[in-house]
Amino acid sequence: MSANPNGGSLAGWLTADTPRSRAQARLGRLYRGWQGFTRNGLAMLGLAIVLGLVLMAALAPWLAPYDPYQQDLGRRLIPPGAAHWLGTDAFGRDILSRILHGSRLTLYIVALVTVTAPIAGLAIGTVSGYFGGWVDAALMRITDIALAFPKLILALAFVSALGPGIESAIIAIAITSWPAYARIARAETLTIRHSDFIQAARLQGASSARIILGHVVPLCSSSLIVRVTLDMAGIILTAAGLGFLGLGAQPPLPEWGAMIAAGRQYVLDQWWVATMPGIAIFIVSLGFNLLGDGLRDVLDPKSR
């Protein structure tokens, strides 16, 4: 009965013209998206970098050749070489080990910002766009006010109010980045709120919550995912900037921005102290940008 052109292989099951279950239909769609994604070489490079970052963070204690907090003043400011691949810093700590452990902090910041700001923005934007009227006016004026603040300055103000620390940096970044997501979600919602399939859902007696969660959010989320991925680089840079200013992660945490700040005074003679974490930030930001571009090609129907 199951006349499968690919002879029952996994790919054949995934691309089947007549899926037999909800799961098969969903997985098939994911698989088609994945096929489109793999055709984009740069996006795959970005994905490799991001996966590399995740692996680095997960395996940091086993990958790092030294303890990232172990000071050895006898071995300070050693240039990159066989014993210390990326050199040592002013306290004799191994920079490679610190960068490897620092990836955990970077990922921690990225993960926490990702689960807060876009979700808050999505909720505010879709509610605002769907209901319109005074709800829209009120929510969008709040968004306008939040957008009008310079991002880094507002983050600085929050950090100084909450006290320096990595959690304060995350809260500050999340609070300053949700308005952009709210705007995107609202714009997407406005384009679909009068479409026939939303009217049809209303005619079935669906509640507003059901329509927003089940019908509006799935259509807004792909452009939001793309935007979040592209913003990741900015988030990492803002976190590093706060660390550099001494307002984010505090010493002796191996946060990359704070490491650059520590290497600032040696930048002319011992260039590697500031450069190595800088290269790490650069590579990870680039990875997220490439991944975001690739995701946009797959997810954004308008660019197809």
């Binding site: 899926p19 279950s21 239909a25 769609r29 026939d196 399939f197 019908h215």
Partner: protein
């Protein structure tokens, strides 16, 4: 079902800002009847239907469905007994939902239970096999999509089906299939139809009685027999009839603007 008509519209007025789209329309539709609303683009026929369905809250007048007066907001019971099929099957199905999800949603909203069997039955009734169940709308043709839209409307087992130009976005060859499907479903389930169309042939085929609209007003009501014999009382209806037979120079020269 004696006494109360299925649908009663009295002095319905709808305006969009300055524009009075519907200016005092009244009609009634008996249970089991198929009623047509005909008119050219902008005559207000779709607006009447949308006000009836509760999609347009800015109306005045009186709307009674199954004997109950309807306000601006409708309750779940209304949606259970009155469903609508939209004109464009490319826009009326959610692009990210499988057919299964599209049909499961109304069952879940009204807590009807037994979703699996209901979905299978609904698909079979509109002539779609179960192989369509887990497909996405973009994998279906226009006619198949419109069948899904009809299945979605009928899965709630309504008494009334509002049809907003259900075939005008489809190929001519598919139009007849959908119209025959609608005719069969009405006969099987004893449904009441309100069909909006600009196509007199479709209305004459589907409806027992029809009303002609122009510029937001009802021009005349007549039955399909009279329409087929060409016995229209009003000049506007006669002109519409003549235009629907196809283009000819005499008709174009005789054209009048009925304000």
């Amino acid at each position: 079902m004696t006494g109360d008509p299925m649908i009663e519209v009295r002095d319905l007025r709808v305006s969009f800002g300055e524009v009075a789209a519907v200016q005092g329309v009244s009609f009634r539709v008996e249970a089991g009847e198929s009623f047509g609303l005909v008119g050219e683009s902008g005559s207000g026929k779709s607006t009447v239907l949308r006000a009836l369905a509760g999609l347009n809250p800015d109306w005045t007048g009186e709307l009674r469905v199954e004997g109950r007066a309807q306000g601006r907001r409708r309750d779940k019971g209304f949606f259970k007994s009155c469903q609508m099929v939209f004109q464009d099957p490319y826009g009326s199905l959610h692009p990210r939902h499988t057919i299964d999800r599209i049909l499961a949603e109304p069952v879940a909203i009204h807590r009807m239970g037994d979703a699996d069997a209901r979905i299978e039955r609904a698909l079979a009734e509109v002539g779609l096999g179960s192989q369509f169940r887990y497909r996405y709308p973009h994998q279906l043709s226009g006619g198949q999509r419109q069948r899904v839209a009809i299945a979605r409307a009928l899965i709630l087992e309504p008494n009334i089906l509002l049809l907003d130009e259900p075939t005008s976005a489809l190929d001519v060859s598919v139009q007849a299939e959908i119209l025959n499907l609608l005719t069969r479903l009405r006969a099987e389930r004893g449904l009441t139809y309100v069909l909006v169309s600009h196509n007199l042939a479709v209305v004459a085929h589907m409806c027992g009685r029809l009303a002609v609209m122009n510029r937001g007003r009802l021009v005349e009501e007549l039955d399909a027999e009279a329409l087929r014999r060409g016995e229209a009382r009003e000049d506007y209806t006669r002109q519409l009839l003549r235009a629907s037979r196809g283009y000819d120079r005499a008709a174009a020269e005789a054209f009048r603007d009925f304000a």
